[in-house]
Structures are given as C-alpha cells and as structure tokens.
C-alpha cells in the first residue's frame, strides 16, 4: 500500500513534469540568456554586473520552478495575506527605506535589497483576481465591489506614488485597471474614469516633482535641452538607429558601452541590444516577448478556473505593459518613466516578481483541470 502511494506520487511528479509548459520555460531561458549576453556586452566583459545578473537569474529560475509546482490554490488562498504583507512593507519602507535618486524605494535586508513597489504589482493582480473570483458576476458593477476594489488599488498606488516612484505607480494602476477590464467592469465606468483622470491631469502635473515635470515637458518638446533631461532618449535613439538592419555585431555596440546612454544596464538595456543586433534582432526579441504573452494567455484559455484565467490574462497584460512602456520610452514614443524591460533589465526585485508571476502561470497550467 505504502509502495503504491510512493509510486503514484512519483508517477504524479513525472506526469507534472510532462505537463509543464516547456515552450514557456524555453522562452524564459532564452530571454535570460539574451539578458546576460547583453549585460556582458555593455561592459565588454568588464565588471561584475552580468555575473550578478546570472546569479539572480538562476536563483529566480529556481523560485520559478518551485512556484510552478506549488498548487495555484496556494496563491488563491494566501492572496490577501500576500497583499497585506506588501502593504506592510510599503509602509515600513517609509521609515527605514534606502533613499536612492531622491526616492525611497528599497528595503535593505542586509544581503539583498528589495523593492516592495515592484512586488506590489503582482500583489494587486493576485488580490483582484481573488476578489473578482468571489464576486458574483451580477455584482461586478455594484457600488460595493467597486468601492472595495478602488480601496485595494489606491492604497498601494498612493504609497508608491509618495515614494516618489511615478513609473511603478503608473504600472500598478495599469495592472489593476487591466484586471478590472478583464473581469468585466462596465465600459461606462472605464470611460468616465478616463474622463475624470484627464480632468485631474493639471492637478497631477502640479503635484509632480520637478524632475518628473521636466520629463513630461521634454517628451512634448524633444528638441529642447538636448544635453539635459532629454539626453538619454536622444542617446538611446542614436544607439537603436545606428544599429541599422543587421546591427553592429555582438560586442561592437558603442553607445551604451561608452556610457553615452544613461541607465544602460537597467531601463535602457534594449538600446544596446538593438544597436548590436539591428532591426532583425530587435524584431526577434519583440517576437519572443510577444510569444511569451501569447503563451501566458493560452494557459489562461486552457485553465478551467476563473482565478487562474483572471491571473493569467492580467499578468500577460502587466507583462505587456512593462514591455510597451519600456520600448515606447527607449524609442522616444513615450516620456521617460523608470520602467524596466522584464527579465532583460538588470534589477533583482523586478526579475523575482516576474519569475514568481510566470511561476504562478506555469502552476495554473499544471493544475488547470482543478477547480478552486
């Protein structure tokens, strides 16, 4: 009897391995490889950034697999706990956070820094997915559920905005709105919401920090101050544009390697990639990102429970939002807000958050036959 159980467990594990979404994992590994090679190329093999990133990626990948084999039910059950833990960290950050670049973003845990605002993006998706899984479909647009979700969204949003970290705050709001859209919130509410936001824009602008104002002004006036705040976008465009169709070749890019592009390891990492691999490489990378999003969406489609569906779709949207805002920013289509490119950009917390998110997606696939 005991042996049977053991065999069935092994059989079960084997079955799970068979069911694991290999293509998504290969795509994630490809992205990780591209990321490490790019960071290596930016520093032309000097320094330790690419090695740190490699270690982080390996660590995050182990977590990804661990999360993948954890039943999605775990995340459903502890979604609220997770959410409040993040809120707690955001509040704690206010008092003991590490200040960098004029904002308190990091919590120092001694051996590593954590950016709770990054994790908040995941938390908001989880909490809304659970909330709307519980809400009856006819109550989705009722005032009570609207108010509840508004509170769930606004607390982390405002906390992050006050750090101040406009980019992450916008992404939290974006992820939340995406989730609300998926769960079927009335279009009229969205439309009136947008109108209200547009009416509030002047006040938001007035409340911005000077550097944030500068970025918005610069976005609408690209020729202004080419050596000042707009410098990064111009240099980034030079990097991308000079790559041409086939690129300058691996290790031959100069814009980021010679430090003309600021934030070259983090937000502007794509500029270096595009410089070395040109249009062909950039479109392939774009295709890889798009495939990941499609794959995540497909896993959502295959899932039988609504929590998994909502989570997959919302995570896919959030992933897309990162890519869209980052690429829009580095190609000069959108104003510069500090949004990293998922997995490709150097940065621990964002990597971890994305990998946990992808882990939950993989878990959704493994347990897609189960109802919650």
């Amino acid at each position: 009897m005991r042996e049977t159980v053991k065999v069935s467990k092994i059989f079960l594990l084997n079955e799970k391995f068979q069911k694991l979404d290999r293509s998504l994992i290969y795509m994630i590994l490809a992205l990780g490889l591209i990321s490490i090679l790019s960071l290596y190329s930016i520093d032309k093999g000097q320094g330790t950034i690419y090695l740190k990133h490699l270690v982080r990626f390996v660590f995050a990948f182990i977590i990804l697999i661990t999360v993948a084999f954890t039943h999605v039910n775990f995340w459903y059950r502890y979604a609220y706990h997770f959410y409040f833990l993040i809120l707690f960290l955001l509040v704690v950050l206010k008092f003991v956070g590490v200040t960098a670049k004029g904002a308190q973003r990091w919590l120092d845990f001694g051996f590593f820094h954590v950016q709770p605002s990054e994790v908040a993006k995941l938390a908001i998706i989880l909490v809304l997915a659970k909330f709307y899984n519980l809400v009856k479909v006819e109550n989705t647009n009722k005032l009570f559920s609207l108010l509840a979700s508004a509170i769930l969204i606004l607390i982390p949003f405002l906390l992050v905005l006050r750090q101040p970290d406009l980019g992450t705050a916008v992404l939290i709001l974006g992820a939340a709105l995406g989730t609300l859209w998926i769960v079927g919130l009335n279009r009229k509410i969205f439309i009136s919401g947008f109108i209200i936001i547009i009416l509030c824009l002047p006040f938001i602008f007035a409340g911005m920090k000077p550097y944030q104002k500068q970025r918005v002004v610069n976005f609408f006036n690209t020729e202004r101050d080419p050596l000042g705040a707009n410098y990064q976008v111009i240099q980034s465009k030079i990097g991308i544009g000079s790559g041409g169709i086939f690129g300058k070749g691996y290790l031959k890019g100069s814009q980021s390697s010679l430090d003309f592009v600021p934030e070259n390891h983090t937000d502007f990492v794509f500029s270096h990639f595009a410089e070395e691999f040109g249009l062909v490489g950039s479109l392939l990378l774009l295709w890889l990102f798009f495939s990941i999003i499609k794959r995540v969406t497909l896993i959502g489609d295959q899932s039988k429970n609504n929590f998994s569906k909502i989570f997959c779709y919302a995570f896919a949207f959030n992933f897309f939002l990162y890519i869209a805002i980052n690429l829009g920013m580095v190609t000069g289509l959108l104003p510069v807000v500090g949004v990293p490119l998922p997995i490709l950009s150097y940065g621990g917390t964002a990597m971890l958050t994305n990998m946990i998110g992808l882990g939950i997606v993989l878990s959704s696939k493994l347990y897609n036959e189960d109802f919650i």
Partner: protein, 609 residues
C-alpha cells in the same frame, strides 16, 4: 453573504465568457502596440539609420590632429633658408592633472618658468575642456627635457613631446620676404572655413611668402583617432594616420646675394632689390633694419614687440614693397623716354643750365651750383641735370609725363599677392582735381620732372622699371618663384629710344662726370644706372648751403639716397634698385651698395655660369 459565493458555480459560464471577450479586446490592443513598436524600430533603424550612425560616430570618435612638418623654403641654389627643427616641449593634459599648483611649482623648479608664463598657463588652463592638452609656451633644452622625463612619476598630467617647429636660418636677412609663422589668432580662425587651423600646435604663415603660400607649405595634418567615452576620456586608439609634410618651396632668391646685400645696407634704413631682367625673378630683396623672425615664430614678448614698433627706422615695415618714396632723379630716364616718345626733344636738342631758373614766379634750382651749361639729353641723364628736366617736363606737361610713367606700372602693385604692398602715386591734373580738389599748378609739373612733389614709388617699382629698360622694353613681372614663366611682351615704346636712354645710363656710371662714376666697376663687366637724391622736405637757402653736410639736418629731414641700375652693360642680365632712407646723396650711399651687388653678381654668378 449574498455578494460572495465561496465556490462560484452559479453564473460560472457567464463570468468565463465575459473574461474571454474582454481578453480578446486586450489582445487586439497588444497586437496594435507591438505593431507600432515594430514600425518605430523600422523607422529608426532603416529610414533614419544614416543619421543615427553619423551621430553615433560623432559621439564615439575624437580626432587629435598632429600638425604636419612645414615645407622647406629654399633659395635658387637649393640652400635652405627656412627649415624645421626639433623642439622639446611639454603639454598639460587637463583631465590628468590632479594638482595644478604642485605641477607648476615643480615645473618651475626644473625649467625656471617666468611668472608671466605661469600666470598665462593658469588662466588658460581653466578654460580648457577635459582631456584637452595645453602646450606650455617654452622651449626646453635637452637637459631640461630629460630631467622632466625622469621625473614624470610625480608630475601627473604632464606630457613631454617633441615637435617640429619652423626655424629661419637667416632670420634678419629674409625677414620681410619670407615673413614668419605664428599661432593662428581668433581672426585667422574665423576666416578659415575648415578646421585645419584648429590643429593643436599648428603655426600658420603670418607675413610674406609664409603667408601667401601657407596652403602649400602647411601640408596635411596627420591624426590619431581615439574612441572616447561619454566623459571624454580616450578609451583606445582606433587609427593613426601620418600627416603629409608641406611641399618644399624653391624661391628665386639667392642666399649669398641676399646676405651680401643685407650686410652692405648695414646701418642704413632702407631696401635693396636685385632682379633678373628677363624673367622678373627677384634674386635678393632686403629691407633694413630687420628683425628676428625666429622670435616671432615662437611668440615674441610684448616689450620686444613694442621696441620694434617704436623704432624710428621702422624695422617691421617691408620697405621694398611698402616704402613709398619720391623717386628723385631715378625717374629721369623715364622722363627722358617720355620726351623722346612724344618727340618733344631729340638726341641733339640742347638746353642751357645756369644752375637756377625762374619760372611762374618761383625759383627752381639745379643740384649743381653754377649749372651744367649747354647740355643734351644724354648728358642731362648722365649728369642728372635738373634744369634740363624742368624744361622737358614743362614742354611735355604733367599728363603726358604721367602717361609714360604709368606704362611702367607705377601707381599699381608690382606683386599681386603681398597685402602690405603699396601702390605709389602717379599724379596728374585729373588726380589732383579729384583727390585734392585743387587745380594743377605748373610748378608742380617741373618738380614731377625730377621725381619730386606728389609722385611716389616703391623700390620694387623702381627696380622693375629699370629691368624693363635693361631688357630693351619688355614687360617684367617681378616674382619670388621659379616656376612662373612670364611671357615677354613688348612695351609700347620705340626700341631706338630705349637704346638712347640705356646708353645715357651707361655713361652715367662709366664716363667721367657721370653721377655714379665713382661707383663704377673696373672689371670686364660693367653696370649702368641712375642715382637719385630725393628731398624729404623743401630745401631752404640755408639747407642748400649746408648741403655739403647732410648730417647737419635732423634724421627724418635728411635726403633719401637712391640708385637704380642694370648690368652687365654688354649683355644686361640684372637690374638693381637701392634706397637708403635719409642717408644722403644717391651717388655717395646707394650707388656703392648697388655696385657691390653687381660686383658679386658679375664675379660669382656670370663667370660661374
């Protein structure tokens, strides 16, 4: 709990269908945005690729130009008159200098820099861009250079280097012809279209041939192309391209003759020119007093420069081109030619000279007290009789005089490319009316006939006119270069008349009683020529009495001493003009100088040939 249902089974399908529909709309949005990003990349990487590639290279590469070695300047026998020497110098590189004060005091210990240099370095240093080198304005000896080299470990940011700098082998002799080089100033930089002049350490021609042929001499700078990072620091050397030295320039000048001429002019302020009468090639041209062009090339100090500026004898003025003098009797051959050409007189016409003539209520004197008696054209030229030429000028009238004088290109630049060249002045009635607004006076015609009054000429013009007499009436274009072949074109004169004048000039030097008889050469080869003593101010009776001793007058009122001639007489080859300012009679000062120049030419250049 009506709002919540722990395990939602009711309405489950509806919720899923809503979610699926909403997802589909989002997917469309994603496709759209990825499409936009794709198009944006296409635009940047394909359509704007060239623009961004250029910008990327401009970011990435910086060039450090290295001035090429300047072309040598040679005389007609390939002697070097301007060359380049290795100089030991040091530069400071801003980004690498950690402590400027320490570096300067240490350098001071080794090199004994003067305070001015230190202060200038300090103030210039602030204005520099990062990693831009600054060359300290001092030449080092080999000993100093090696001392700095062995102490480099304490001198952060000091870069010793060897550069090739212009050196003039005969700085005084050739100062005004060759000119000198110097660091380009703001004006030079603005007039320059390309960035050649921005080459660090480059020197450009500031005067004379160095300036005129700067482009040929300066060569093409070499460069080192560096890859720099955003901070401007050189990361690696990408390529090194050698410069091309400037072309060597062979001039028409004759070093030996130039040295001799400079020496003979000696203490006089003035100029002397020797010219080939057929080609117009200038063999020698000296202006005195002179200055040390090597000092200029390296940056003369203000006190030294002020000294030169204040000097009453004007060392900085190029006297053979910019000195304008009343030609005095040197003009007489041309006046005589005008008379013959206009058939006012012929060879046999005589006029009586009593030493003094009264015309238009004024007294006009001949230089010789008591006069020359009855005198014909040849003797009038030979003895330089003023009364004869007053008469000729009176008969011709100033406008016909001026016409002939102009045919010798007086009143216009003899060389085209020297900015400092003056044109001289040929007066006539129209000129006086237009410029001075006054009618011409007949007395002025008379003094124009002896090269006084308004008429002004440069030594170069005088020498050119003498060359044109000597070659039998062909146009001469003076030049400093050998490669220019000037076409011989006949001037609009009767060859017979030119011959008559030339014979008179031969007599003036080689027959007793001629004005330059005392300076004649006794060898087989002889020269011919006309003296001139041009008055700077109108002479008073007392001055005339004192004339025996010209030094009694204040320097600036003393007569200019002139001589213009050609030789050898049998087969003319060379023309010479000498002007010694405020030196006294032409026969006494200028003619002997010319004589020694002819002597050299006959002995060293003709017998050798």
């Amino acid at each position: 709990m009506k709002l919540f249902k722990h395990r939602p089974t009711e309405g489950y399908q509806t919720k899923t269908s809503i979610i699926n529909r909403r997802k589909a709309i989002l997917t469309t949005a994603k496709y759209t945005f990825f499409g936009i990003i794709g198009l944006r990349l296409l635009w940047l990487q394909v359509f704007q690729r060239n623009k961004y590639s250029t910008l990327s290279d401009r970011n990435r590469f910086k060039e450090w130009k290295i001035a090429a070695e300047r072309g040598l300047i040679l005389d007609r026998f390939n002697n070097k008159i301007a060359e380049n020497r290795q100089l030991y110098r040091i530069a400071l590189i801003k980004g690498d200098v950690t402590d400027l004060d320490f570096v300067l005091t240490t350098l001071n210990k080794f090199l004994r820099l003067d305070n001015e240099t230190i202060e200038k370095t300090r103030s210039d240093f602030i204005k520099l861009r990062k990693f831009q080198p600054y060359v300290i304005n001092k030449n080092l000896t080999w000993a100093e250079f090696s001392k700095i080299n062995s102490n480099l470990f304490i001198l952060n940011g000091v870069q010793p280097f060897i550069s090739m700098e212009r050196h003039y082998n005969f700085p005084y002799e050739f100062a005004h012809v060759l000119g000198y080089v110097g660091v380009p100033n703001e004006n030079d930089l603005q007039n320059q279209k390309d960035d050649l002049y921005r080459t660090p350490g480059i020197k450009i021609g500031k005067l004379g041939i160095e300036k005129i042929l700067n482009r040929e001499l300066i060569g093409t700078p070499g460069f080192t192309r560096f890859e720099v990072n955003a901070a401007g620091r050189a990361v690696r050397t990408v390529e090194f391209v050698d410069g091309v030295s400037g072309n060597a320039l062979k001039t028409s000048l004759d070093l030996e003759l130039q040295k001799l001429t400079y020496q003979k002019l000696g203490r006089y302020a003035g100029s002397a020119i020797a010219m080939d009468i057929k080609t117009g090639e200038v063999l020698a041209c000296v202006s005195t007093p002179s200055f040390d062009t090597n000092k200029f090339a390296f940056g003369i100090t203000q006190p030294e420069f002020n000294e030169l500026l204040k000097n009453e004898r004007k060392p900085l003025i190029n006297k053979f081109l910019s000195g304008q003098y009343s030609p005095g009797s040197v003009i007489k051959p041309i006046i005589a030619l005008a008379a013959l050409e206009n058939k006012i007189v012929d060879q046999d016409y005589t006029h009586f000279c009593s030493g003094k003539i009264e015309l238009y209520g004024q007294e006009f004197y001949c230089w010789k007290d008591g006069g020359h008696g009855r005198i014909n054209l040849k003797d009038a030229v030979k003895k330089s009789c003023d009364i004869y030429f007053y008469e000729v000028a009176r008969l011709l009238g100033v406008d016909r005089l001026a016409e002939t004088i102009r045919k010798f290109d007086f009143g216009q630049a003899a060389l085209k490319d020297f900015d400092e060249e003056k044109k001289g002045l040929v007066p006539d009635t129209k000129w006086k009316k237009n410029v001075l607004g006054k009618p011409w006076l007949l007395g002025e015609t008379l003094i124009t006939g002896i090269g006084q009054g308004y008429i002004l000429a440069t030594p170069m013009q005088i020498c050119k006119s003498m060359a044109e007499f000597a070659n039998g009436g062909y146009k001469v274009n003076p030049t400093f270069y050998l490669d220019e072949k000037s076409k011989l074109s006949r001037m609009d004169f009767d060859a017979e008349n030119i011959k008559i004048i030339n014979e008179a000039l031969v007599a003036a030097t080689n027959e007793p009683g001629g004005t330059s008889y005392g300076s004649r050469l006794n060898g087989k080869l002889k020269f011919a020529g006309k003296t001139g003593t041009s008055q700077v101010t109108k002479l008073t009776i007392k001055d005339r009495e004192d004339n025996a001793n010209p030094n009694s007058r204040e320097y600036k009122y003393r007569d200019h001493s002139l001589f213009a001639g050609f030789g050898p007489v049998e087969e003319p080859k060379y023309a010479v003009a000498v002007v010694a300012e405020h030196a006294g009679p032409g026969s006494r000062i200028a003619a002997p100088i010319a004589s020694s120049m002819f002597d050299f030419l006959f002995k060293k250049r003709i017998s050798n040939a």
